[in-house]
Subunit: 226 residues, 2 copies
């Protein structure tokens, strides 16, 4: 290996300065790429109780206990739910949005949903990577237990990505996305309820995929600063 004489070549070519970081985008699933799954189940089986979300019952465990009881009392099995979800499609334009995004940067879906619910929708979205939770059914086929990967999982995922050198941009639509968005380097809302935009008026907010894509793929950091 002959060494060129110019002293420049003796310097390291590795860039380690702060500010040059590999980018990754974390997206919420329901409301951002696909319809709200529990709402779809509530409508299909005409069970109003299943329309309750974290907007109505702030304690997630309490909400899930209620859903599990209601499903059993209404005779709705995990297979019934999965069939309902199998009939859903991603939101209009979501697949094209996600394809364009994945051509340009790395993407991970961060969701509070369950793998057993997400799978048929993930297939239609081109199998992006998703970090979510798991459900278990009993011998009769009813949802009996659930396993949350961890508490405040979306925010913890952003912290984990930070710990391995990523600059994270996070997008969500709901209250359960706010810690993720606020922990990320950059963040935005997509079709949020009015109450959130009123509480967080400085967060960029988008109603269509073209606008969101422009934000996510902006060349200059200034365009994406919170």
């Amino acid at each position: 290996m002959a060494q060129p004489a110019h002293p420049w070549y003796t310097w390291s070519h590795q860039i380690t300065i702060w500010g040059i970081l590999v980018q990754i985008v974390c997206l919420d699933l329901e409301g951002v790429l696909v319809p709200e799954v529990w709402i779809a189940v509530a409508e299909r089986f005409e069970v109003a109780e299943l329309r309750l979300t974290t907007r109505d019952v702030s304690d997630y465990d309490e909400l899930m206990e209620h859903r599990i009881r209601t499903l059993r009392s209404e005779g709705i099995t995990l297979t019934d739910i999965q069939e309902t979800i199998g009939g859903l499609a991603p939101l209009d334009g979501a697949r094209e949005f996600l394809d364009t995004l994945r051509e340009n940067t790395q993407v991970i879906i961060l969701s509070d949903t369950f793998e057993q619910f997400a799978s048929p929708l993930m297939k239609q979205l081109g199998r992006p990577t998703i970090f979510c939770n798991e459900l278990f059914a009993d011998e009769e086929g009813y949802v009996s237990h659930y396993h949350l990967r961890q508490a405040d999982g979306k925010r913890q995922a952003v912290l984990a990505l930070h710990s391995i050198g990523f600059e994270v941009t996070a997008v969500g639509d709901s209250y359960n996305d706010l810690t993720m968005i606020q922990t990320a380097d950059f963040g935005a809302l997509f079709r949020p309820p009015k109450s959130i935009t009123e509480e967080y008026p400085t967060l960029p907010s988008f109603e269509d995929y073209d606008g969101l894509l422009g934000f996510l793929l902006a060349d200059t950091r200034a365009d994406r600063t919170l």
Copy 2:
């Protein structure tokens, strides 16, 4: 919300016991899913110096310095390299293997390569999520700098996934995969050099995708224990 009388319903349905963890698979890229990129560049431009890998020069920075100098002295630009990579295809059967795996579990590619090299191959693999590094070219188009997301990035990624509640299975073919494999909960080699199988005789090792898929999708942990 009527509460059923049975006391079982007053228990939490959340499973938090150890041993029930969401699965994720981390795969090396070159040698596991696609050909070795630097070897392809060395062959296309007939520059033997570019055939050197971490097997020959154990210090990664030293190896990259040497590659950057050689590319410049041989007049090979980043665009030339990208065109060469654009002409490569994934290994026979890699896309089908990865599609089947992604239908069944979450997958992240952990690679020491650069986004600028990986992108055309990622497209052919259906855009799986990849954690890798970044390259920069100067005004003449020559590779001038590189940015490693962090030192020992593959192992750190496994630790980060552990920190957010995943059980990780890691697969690689080379010396730079060993810390990742040994940090993961389960691990295997795919088409490794003989020297590695001799040094690590207890690591499961596979020569074809069907065997590897059987290992990765095994129902029982016992089948996948290191």
